[in-house]
């Protein structure tokens, strides 16, 4: 039955994460932006509270009978987007800095061996804050993920990695990083592999933390791999995975599949940011604006547009998450919500700044949110790439590959 009412559990998650965002994140938001990081003691505290950034709750077996009728329906993805919207409302840079597997979680969850899941996904404990990371982008390969130049040369007992990765969220502090490399260039995409490279592995280093327009409190690293030996146990999914079905289990496919679960999460973050800007601005308009005349009508129209656009983005995101929970193909919906929410959130923040006028330049969170939100239209696949994915799915019935 079509429904947009949150279940009791979803409502609880929403309220709990909103409380956390309001009382723990928002108070340090502007300070973290200024100092360019999230204080360690704060991260330790929230880690002890058991709060993590988890983006890997999607159903990984499309034939899993749990996804069919008769057994309890999985709702991890819906829970994920609901909770993520709230913490991004609190502060997106801090949200991305929360301990946990982050964007590295989904590929391990979906393609890792049982042993790898045990090794890498169970380290996120309360004793110490730990992070995972996901490294795909290179200086010469961003949107075209099939063109990555990092090499993985097979040697006795493992692979030797050489190359560079950029724009890696939490890449320097991460305990491990899921890294994509080309093992056999002659096979094209099928020749790509994914590895889990652990911190401290000889030949693996973080060379720089980049400074950015926004999300300043969140660490964005450049990683270097110089003759970095990675044991065969760290080949994601193991050799068997690639031998079993070479065509659809390349590292490239794994990277793409990851996006199906992470893009709704990124969209949910954008929605949280937009909502934060909207609610802040609404308060200002209600308090300071005239209740009639030109500015009043300007505000009503803009606020209504914002309200509608946020609702639209949320519904697209929920749909993508719902399909993932049911184990249905959701690449198109994931791209749709990401494409729309990223652009929408930037537009919302711009409209809010317009309503605030010159006073919005300083001391208001909206200018920070505007700086933060731009990248949500870029990372996890640019807006243009999302359009490409949508168009490809749209033309699939006609046998056309756009």
């Amino acid at each position: 039955m079509i429904s947009f009412t949150l279940s009791e559990q979803q409502q609880q998650i929403k309220e709990m994460t909103h409380w956390f965002a309001k009382h723990e994140m928002r108070p340090i938001s502007m300070v973290a932006d200024k100092i360019g990081n999230v204080p360690e003691e704060w991260l330790d505290k929230v880690n002890q509270m058991g709060i993590h950034l988890n983006t890997s709750s999607f159903s990984n077996d499309k034939n899993d009978s749990a996804n069919k009728r008769g057994r309890k329906e999985q709702e991890g993805n819906r829970m994920g987007v609901i909770a993520t919207e709230e913490i991004a409302w609190g502060d997106p840079a801090i949200a991305l800095s929360l301990p946990g597997a982050g964007l590295g979680g989904p590929p391990i969850q979906s393609s890792g061996t049982k042993e790898q899941k045990e090794r890498f996904l169970t380290i996120f404990k309360k004793d110490k804050a730990r992070w995972g990371a996901y490294a795909l982008t290179e200086p010469e390969a961003g949107s075209d993920a099939s063109a990555i130049q990092m090499t993985a040369k097979k040697v006795s007992g493992g692979y030797i990695l050489n190359g560079q990765k950029i724009f890696i969220t939490n890449g320097s502090r991460a305990s491990w990083v899921v890294v994509f490399a080309t093992a056999d260039a002659t096979l094209g995409r099928a020749g790509q592999r994914a590895f889990v490279v652990e911190k401290g592995t000889p030949g693996f280093s973080s060379t720089r933390l980049v400074e950015k327009m926004g999300l300043r409190a969140n660490e964005t690293a450049e990683l270097l791999f110089e003759d970095c030996f990675v044991p065969i146990e760290n080949l994601l999914g193991g050799e068997q995975l690639y031998k079993r079905s070479r065509s659809d289990q390349s590292g490239f496919e794994m990277a793409m599949k990851t996006f199906d679960s992470t893009r709704p999460i990124v969209a949910a973050m954008a929605i949280g940011i937009a909502r934060a800007a909207f609610e802040y601005t609404l308060d200002v308009v209600q308090r300071d604006f005239p209740t009639s005349g030109k500015f009043y009508y300007l505000a009503t129209e803009m606020l209504a547009e914002i309200d509608g656009n946020i609702a639209a983005a949320r519904l697209l995101t929920w749909e993508a998450a719902w399909k993932a929970d049911l184990g249905l193909a959701n690449a198109k919906e994931a791209a749709m919500c990401k494409a729309y929410a990223g652009q929408m959130a930037l537009d919302v923040c711009a409209k809010c700044l317009e309503l605030l006028g010159p006073t919005g330049l300083e001391g208001h969170i909206v200018e920070k949110l505007y700086r933060d939100v731009k990248v949500f239209d870029i990372f996890e696949g640019t807006n243009e790439i999302q359009h490409l994915v949508i168009a490809r799915r749209q033309y699939e019935p006609y046998g056309i590959r756009v």
């Binding site: 039955m1 079509i2 429904s3 947009f4 009412t5 949150l6 279940s7 979803q10 929403k14 329906e73 709702e75 819906r78 909502r275 909207f278 609610e279 609404l282 308009v285 209600q286 009508y297 505000a299 009503t300 129209e301 803009m302 606020l303 209504a304 547009e305 309200d307 509608g308 946020i310 609702a311 639209a312 949320r314 519904l315 697209l316 929920w318 749909e319 998450a321 719902w322 399909k323 198109k332 749709m336 494409a339 729309y340 243009e384 999302q386 359009h387 490409l388 949508i390 168009a391 749209q394 033309y395 006609y398 056309i400 756009v402």
Partner: protein, 381 residues
């Protein structure tokens, strides 16, 4: 629990509606437009399946379906042709008024007229667009009212045998009343419509100091205000759903065309200028659909609470239907502009529909006022 899955019943209804749309509606779209009317055999088929009575209360012989079911069916039918769907006889928007009424708000004579089964109602709404000035004047004279003036162009105005009017009286007090055309000397101005929805039987109705007796009055004052608000909400959701159907039709047609049409030695779908436009149309259509679904589910629980979501849904559908149909014409190029292809008609129909069912800016301002008036954050679910 958040879910986008239709029920089995809804799927069955939609499946039949899709069949009707493809076999009985789409092939006759041009003919209906050219003649300005709909074939009787088509009306018969649609009526027999109950599609003319989706919104009517069971007590009036209707199906009284929840809005969430109705919107899926209306979208599926409108996929065939919005112009035809808007010209189908029946209680149409008037059914939403009946659905919004308190029990016994309509007297027995009025109920009997509706239950005759042959009624077609034109809903003349002089309140929704009041910012632009009243077209009709309603003056109280003793226990009766006197109605004077000419209505806006109204859907089903030509063929209707009954009218429901929502009008403000001379003191600005809303009045909802009922008229049986045969008991009044009304002038139906068929006009010279060339723009869109040409099979929708659009006409202006002129009233020359017509007397409206007390037993024709359904509600006045606060009751009328509440009733008209609930009615507007339901109408907005249903009309937005029809627009979604039209958007989907234009999107699918443009997708297929661009997948077949070749230029510069390849199908034009391979050009990003084309495929990205299609992607944007996909997003807009899905958004319009989901906002309609959301508003419908809220309205099925409580119509008053659905006022905001309904405004959101109709505003976005107004925006989307023009964008998508215009884009479809653009993607077909010169072919899109000529009547050999349906998209030029869809573009005209879309714009006509928007003009009949309220201004997008007006909806935005109303929604914005609601947002500003409440301390509750409007977008927190």
């Amino acid at each position: 629990m958040i879910s986008f899955e239709s029920t089995e019943d809804e799927n069955a209804f939609v499946s039949i509606a899709q069949k009707i749309a493809s076999e009985n509606i789409r092939p006759y779209a041009r003919e209906s437009e050219n003649k300005g009317m709909i074939r009787n055999d088509m009306i018969k088929v649609v009526n027999e399946l109950g599609f003319l009575k989706l919104e009517e209360p069971e007590s009036y012989g209707g199906l009284q379906l929840p809005l969430i079911s109705q919107v899926q069916i209306q979208a599926a039918l409108s996929y065939g042709d919005l112009g035809i769907v808007q010209g189908l006889p029946g209680l149409a928007d008037g059914a939403s008024l009946l659905r919004s009424m308190e029990p016994k708000q309509m007297n027995k004579d009025q109920q009997k007229l509706v239950c005759e089964g042959e009624s077609t109602i034109a809903f003349i709404d002089d309140i929704n667009d009041k910012a632009m000035g009243k077209r009709l004047s309603l003056t109280k004279s003793g226990t009766n009212y006197t109605l004077h003036g000419t209505s806006q162009p109204t859907r089903l105005g030509q063929m209707a045998n009954h009218l429901i009017l929502a009008v403000l009286d001379e003191e600005g007090c809303p009045v909802i009343c009922w008229m049986d055309k045969k008991h009044h000397h009304l002038k139906v101005n068929k006009g010279d419509y060339r723009f869109g929805l040409l099979a929708a039987s659009i006409a202006k109705i002129s009233f020359d100091n017509e007397i409206i007796s007390q037993d024709q009055v359904i509600a006045t004052g606060e009751k009328a205000d509440q009733l008209i608000r609930r009615t507007h909400t339901r109408i907005q959701i249903i009309q937005a759903a029809k627009q979604v159907g039209l958007m989907q039709a234009a999107l699918d047609y443009a997708t297929e065309y661009t997948a077949m049409r070749k230029a510069f030695d390849q199908v034009i779908a391979k050009f990003q200028g084309v495929s990205f436009q299609i992607a944007r149309m996909v997003i807009e259509t899905r958004i319009a659909n989901h906002l309609v679904w959301e508003a419908a589910t809220v309205a099925d629980k409580n119509t008053e609470e659905a006022e905001g979501p309904a405004l959101r849904a109709i505003q976005r559908a107004h925006q989307g239907v023009r964008y998508v149909t215009n884009s479809a014409v653009q993607l077909l190029g010169g072919h899109g502009y000529v009547k050999d292809y349906p998209v030029e008609k869809w573009m005209r129909d879309a714009q006509a529909q928007v003009m009949l069912y309220g201004r997008e800016k007006n909806y935005l301002i109303r929604r914005g006022k609601q947002t500003l008036a409440t301390k509750e954050k409007a977008v927190i679910t």
